[in-house]
């Protein structure tokens, strides 16, 4: 396949890092514009009072999924050159639990904490410092837990291979799930608001 959209940056690591910085800043700007630099906004997702996180994240997933699928089908993007991180089942389950617990406690995830920090929010700065410390500690601990860290490797274990279905089927199911969630999220928000109004004296 000759894909006209360049995924590699000529000139080595430094230009790539510059591009990555630009993409990161753009991503952060989008998060901030969506209101996701605010911890109370994120906590609203856990209490089902504000479904913004679900809407923003699902929109991003569906856009990327459909975009990559059809751009590849049209020969514009070469999917074999898009990085797919390898799967390590046990370590990633543990990492997911730790991540989820940390996000529920802090009200921010790594990306949104950087956004919050960049906009001068003290909680964002605190959480960002916390996760950088966590990264450092984890990095130092890796040699001691190397066996576990590299256990359960499955390579690029994406959903099509795991479920034995085509990429198109997975795309369809995710899009259908997202549209259903979008349709229901307004009702959930209204129901939770009504419930809060009843509880409030």
């Amino acid at each position: 396949m000759t894909a006209p959209l360049p995924l590699d940056v000529a000139g080595g690591t430094t230009p790539s890092l510059v591009v990555a910085l630009g993409v990161g800043v753009a991503f952060g700007w989008c998060l901030e514009r969506a209101g996701l630099g605010s911890a109370p906004k994120l906590m609203g997702q856990f209490t089902l009072r504000d479904m913004t996180v679900l809407k923003v994240m699902f929109s991003a997933i569906v856009t990327a999924m459909l975009g990559l699928f059809w751009l590849s089908w049209l020969g514009v993007v070469d999917l074999s050159r898009v990085a797919v991180p390898p799967t390590f089942i046990g370590p990633q389950i543990v990492g997911g639990v730790v991540f989820g617990a940390g996000m529920a406690l802090a009200g921010l995830c790594p990306g949104t904490s950087c956004v919050a920090a960049a906009t001068g929010r003290l909680d964002g700065l605190t959480v960002a410092a916390g996760f950088f410390a966590g990264v450092l500690v984890t990095g130092l601990a890796v040699p001691a837990m190397a066996d576990f860290y590299e256990s359960g490797t499955r390579g690029a274990f994406a959903l099509p291979a795991a479920l034995g279905v085509t990429q198109g089927t997975v795309t369809f199911v995710v899009v259908a799930g997202a549209l259903t969630a979008f349709a229901l999220s307004g009702r959930v928000e209204r129901a939770m608001a009504a419930r809060a109004a009843r509880v409030r004296p």
Binding site: L66, W70, L79, S80, P86, G155, A156, G168, V175, A176
Partner: protein, 205 residues
């Protein structure tokens, strides 16, 4: 407000249409129209057996090659200079960008190897995504082939079989204790893989 709502609903409808078409199309790649055998029809796809993507050892690959496993195709994902230096017998050299020409065929088993986990992962995801049913990755890549097949340490009950398999491929099995030099027993692809290759090369394999 009404305009925004209409716009959002329009986006939702577009996503629904594109998602449904993705389901119909199946794979994110257009099949080439260059010959009857290379087009992946729905019937061909249905005929594919269970999908399985898993890692195999270099020894397993060696046994498959020696036994003439039907439908076996071995792909070397390293750069062409590394391929020319040494490669697994019967392997074909492929860059990641060339994988689009590897089209699924009923009963085919693909085995990939390189010296880069990420490259293996990308290739596996791509090949599975376009409908390949059986894709295997050699655990440890070329380094594992060198140490497990061409220069294995043989001991115990399996010594005869391992030695015979190694000699089939022109290898030199050794009876040296694994404790003598841990480098020769390591098939893992880690920072020492280059050292392992160099060490094995110095032994004349």
């Amino acid at each position: 407000m009404t305009d925004t709502r209409s716009f959002v609903r329009g986006l939702g409808a577009a996503a629904a249409v594109l998602g449904t078409l993705a389901f119909v199309v199946g794979a994110p790649v257009r099949p080439p129209h260059t010959g009857r055998d290379t087009v992946v029809s729905a019937a061909t796809r249905d005929a594919l057996d269970e999908r399985a993507i898993e890692q195999i050892s270099a020894s397993q690959l060696a046994r498959w090659i020696r036994d003439g496993k039907a439908g076996l195709r071995v792909l070397d994902l390293r750069d062409s200079s590394a391929f020319e230096t040494k490669h697994v017998p019967s392997a074909e050299s492929f860059a990641l960008t060339g994988l689009a020409t590897v089209l699924p065929k009923p009963g085919e088993t693909l085995v990939l190897y390189s010296d880069d986990d990420l490259r293996d992962a990308q290739a596996t995801a791509w090949l599975a995504g376009v409908g390949h049913a059986r894709v295997h990755v050699v655990r440890g890549g070329m380094s594992a082939w060198m140490t497990e097949v061409l220069s294995p340490i043989v001991q115990g009950d399996s010594a005869k079989a391992v030695g015979a398999l190694s000699r089939y491929f022109g290898g030199v099995p050794s009876l040296v204790s694994p404790d003598a030099d841990p480098r020769v027993t390591s098939g893992a692809r880690d920072d020492g893989s280059k050292e392992v290759l160099e060490f094995v090369a110095r032994r004349g394999c």
